[in-house]
Symmetry: C2
Subunit: 159 residues, 2 copies
Amino acid sequence: MARADLARQTCTIARAVSLVGDEWTFMILREMFLGGRRFDDFQRQTGASAALLSQRLKKLEAEGVIRKEAYSERPVRFEYRMTAMGRELWPAVITLKQWGDKWLGDGPAPVEIVHKSCGHVTEPQMTCSECGEPMAAHDAEPRLSEPFDTERQAMRKNS
Amino acid sequence: MARADLARQTCTIARAVSLVGDEWTFMILREMFLGGRRFDDFQRQTGASAALLSQRLKKLEAEGVIRKEAYSERPVRFEYRMTAMGRELWPAVITLKQWGDKWLGDGPAPVEIVHKSCGHVTEPQMTCSECGEPMAAHDAEPRLSEPFDTERQAMRKNS
DNA sequence: AGGGTCACTTCAGTTTCTGAATTGACTAAC
DNA sequence: GTTAGTCAATTCAGAAACTGAAGTGACCCT
């Protein structure tokens, strides 16, 4: 199966991955959450080639994750900003940061997160929406909904 | 800059991304969190080609995210399991699932998460480790540590 | 007039990925 | 005791994606 076909699966993880689950898209998102808005920023801070960057920004814009806005007429110059949809990718990026800090870092974390409303440096964590306790993989049991379960069983059989 | 060079950056997001931030790696992780362990499961449920799968599993094993274990001698057969390092990628996968469910889904979510200890279907959320309140992008202010900040300023200047 | 900025586009060469076939060490069925 | 099947791969040619460098167009600044 080609990468692009992930978008047509029932699984919403597959769909999300086909939209934002690649190396350079994550780098662009990181940059935006650090305040980057311009093509140039992205190019310098992420190291992506201009061609790639242009292609990815177009895709993200087409899917509604970011939006392009002129910040100057004459000359016409654009910058990119996140939509509500894009902003909600923050947990995905932060989560990778935490993991990277813990398992791949070799000193203090290069970026700290300050929680504006309480003023503290924070290490955001996943908690259960129902009981409020922190959650990890072993606390979670996935339950497949019926139609999706059937789809997966089918894959198990044929071939 | 080539994708592989991301691993050599100071930024721990870049490092994490170079290790697990690609389409098929996410699909493998999804599959493992749904209980998949064997080469065959991965192939069928993710749709990745055998060559790719083999390469990715090797990389993840080499980096310590998963481990390979024989589940049968004669014939020697292997399965893959997560290490502690791998298990801690759960929030990253869940976070993408939540986002996909909300923005890319077209019905009820194909997978629900049950919080074992409280028994409820849950929608895990990011909360501040200090005050316990839910957090989103606008509540967070990134603060660059000194050496990293300097590194980024430098990038801003030279071309 | 000459140089610089910014957001790209173009393109040749390289790398990575896909799909299909094949391998090797077995087991299970006829 | 051949034949078929299972499983975890590997091999390979063709296709797709990415890189790095150069170029473009609409300006501005001196």
